[in-house]
Symmetry: C2
Subunit: 307 residues, 2 copies
C-alpha cells in the first residue's frame, strides 16, 4: 500500500504538496490536485481507512485444505461478504499441519491484515491471542468454545448427529456403524459424542465406532477392513461426511451389498455428491455457504472494521 512518500515519488510532487491534497487544502492548483489524485488512485492509496494503521484492507482466511468442496464453499461464502464490503480475502491453507498453520498466522500478522477468519484449527490459541491483543478481530468457524475473545460460527453438530441417531433408531436399526472423522476436528468429535450419549441412554442400541478421516479413501478402507474382519453384522452406517460415504459405498458394493436394500446409509454435509448419487444418499444438510457468510459478517460488524 502506497505511503505519502511513494505518492510523492510517483507523482513528482513534494511530500508537502501531496499532504495538502490529502488534507483537502485549497492551497494547490486544480491541475496539481487532479494529477496527484490520479496517482493516488493508481497506487490505490487508502488513507486511514483501515483500523490500527493497517497497511491494507485485507482479511486473512485460513482453511485446512481445498480438496473437498467443504472449505471451498465456506471460503466462497466469506469472500462474497468481504467483496461486498471492499475487503480482499487472502486465503491460505495449512494442510492439517500445526506448523504451517502457525506460519500462516504469523504471515497474516506481519502483513497487518484487518481481521482473521480461521476454520477448524489446532492448538493455535497463542497465535490468535496476538491478533486479539493487537485489536485485530478474529472469527473462528467450526470450533470449540474458547477462552479467547473471538466469535465462533458453527452448526450444532451434536444436535444434528443426535437427530441422525434418533432417525436410525426409529427406523428400527439396533446395530449401527459410525465411520468417524479425525478427532482433532471439533465437529467430528461432537458428532461422535452425540452417538455415544444416545447409545448410553438406549439399552437396545449399539454403535460401533470406526476411526477414519475425511477423505473418500478413508471411507473405502474403513468399510473394506470391517467387512473383511466381521462381515455385515450391522444394518446401517452413519458416515462423518458424504465423501467418506462414497468410499464406503464402493467397499459395500464390491462385497455385494447394495443400499438402501441391504444397508441404510446416512452421510453428512448435503454435498452435491449426495444428491447426484443413484440412489441418492440420505444426508444431514449443513449450511456450509452460510457459515462462510456469517463468519465474514460477524468479522465486519462486531470487529467494527471501518467499511
Amino acid at each position: 500500500m502506497a505511503t505519502i512518500r511513494e505518492i510523492a515519488k510517483a507523482s513528482g510532487f513534494s511530500i508537502a504538496t501531496v499532504s495538502r491534497v490529502l488534507s483537502g487544502s485549497e492551497n494547490v492548483t486544480e491541475e496539481t490536485r487532479k494529477r496527484i489524485l490520479k496517482v493516488i488512485k493508481e497506487l490505490d492509496y487508502r488513507r486511514s481507512q483501515s483500523i490500527k494503521g493497517s497497511s491494507f484492507r485485507g482479511i486473512g482466511v485460513l482453511v485446512p485444505d481445498l480438496k473437498a468442496d467443504y472449505y471451498g464453499m465456506i471460503a466462497e461464502g466469506i469472500e462474497e461478504v468481504l467483496l461486498r464490503n471492499h475487503f480482499e480475502m487472502f486465503l491460505s491453507t495449512y494442510r492439517h499441519s500445526l506448523e504451517k498453520e502457525r506460519d500462516a498466522l504469523e504471515e497474516f500478522f506481519a502483513r497487518k491484515v484487518d481481521g482473521v477468519i480461521v476454520c477448524t484449527t489446532h492448538q493455535d490459541e497463542e497465535c490468535l491471542e496476538k491478533f486479539i491483543e493487537a485489536g485485530i478481530p478474529v472469527v473462528a468457524v467450526d470450533r470449540e468454545n474458547s477462552e479467547l475473545k473471538m466469535d465462533i460460527v458453527t452448526i450444532d453438530n451434536y444436535e444434528s448427529s443426535l437427530k441422525i441417531a434418533k432417525y436410525l433408531y426409529e427406523m428400527g436399526h439396533r446395530k449401527v456403524l459410525h465411520v468417524e472423522g479425525l478427532m482433532e476436528i471439533y465437529s467430528a468429535m461432537e458428532r461422535k459424542q452425540a452417538l455415544i450419549d444416545f447409545a448410553q441412554k438406549k439399552e437396545d442400541f449399539e454403535v460401533i465406532f470406526i476411526p477414519a478421516g475425511f477423505d473418500v479413501k478413508d471411507g473405502y478402507s474403513a468399510i473394506k477392513k470391517y467387512l473383511d474382519k466381521y462381515g455385515k453384522n450391522f444394518t446401517a452406517i452413519f458416515f462423518v461426511n458424504d465423501w467418506v460415504a462414497l468410499g464406503g459405498i464402493k467397499a459395500l458394493k464390491e462385497a455385494g451389498f447394495n443400499y438402501p436394500e441391504d444397508v441404510s446409509l446416512v452421510g453428512f454435509d448435503d454435498s452435491p455428491l449426495a444428491k447426484y448419487l443413484h440412489p441418492s444418499l440420505t444426508t444431514m444438510k449443513q449450511p456450509i455457504h452460510e457459515m462462510g457468510l456469517n463468519a465474514a459478517k460477524l468479522l465486519i460488524e462486531k470487529g467494527s472494521i471501518t467499511k
Copy 2:
C-alpha cells in the same frame, strides 16, 4: 509491510538509528541493535527483498471458483511451491464474471503483488498487460496462446480428447454423445474441436454435441433432456469432466440404463470421484496438481523473482 518510519516509531529510536542498523553500520550499541532487530523481526520488515519495490512478497492467484476439486487442487499445487520459496499466496475467485475478474486483478496490482497466476480467464488481456508492462511476471494456467509476454501452463487438451475419440472408435462405437463444457473455457473448446476433427476424418463415426457446463447438475439435465427427446440412440458418452459424468449417470440410471453394460462412459480429470464410483468411471488423467506446481515454478524461475 513496515517502513523505516514504522520501525522507528515501534522501537522508540530515531529514523537515523534504524537506518544505521539496517545498513549494518558499526555506529550503534549492541543493545540498540538487538532491540531494533527484534522490532524489525516483529514487524516482519523485509527490506529490498522484493522486486520493483513491492510492499510485500505475495503472489496473486485468480481462479474461477473453489467448488469442484479442480481449482482447489491447482491452488494447492501453486501454494506448495510458493511456500517453499517464502512467498504468500493470495487467492481470489472471480466466479466466472469478467467484472469480478478485472476487479481482482486491479486489487492485486494496487497491492503490488510480486507476480500473478491466472487460471482460465476471459478477456482480461488489458489488465494483464498492465502487470507485464510494470515488470510483474504473469503465468496463465489452462489458456490459449496469447500475444502477451507470459508463460502458459496447460495440458494438451486436444490430444487427450483425440485419444478418447480413438479409444471409443476402436471399441466399436459409431454414435457418441459429447456433453461439452462452457465454450468460453479454452480447454473445453479444445476437447470439442478434437472430436469435430476426428469425426470429419471418419465417415462412419458420428458425435452429437450437447452444450452443458462444468457442474454435476449440467450433466444430469443434459442427459435427461436428451433421453426424453431422442431416447438412447447412442452407445457411448464422453463427458467434459467427471462431475458432469456423475450427473449424467444419475439421469441414465433413472431411465433404466446402467454402465458399462448399456452404455460406455468416459470422463475427464481423473478426480477421486471417478475412482470411487462403482463401477469406476473410465477417465482421462489430468496432472492437475502438477499444473499448479509448474505454474508457480515458472513464475519464480522465469519471472526472476528474488528468492
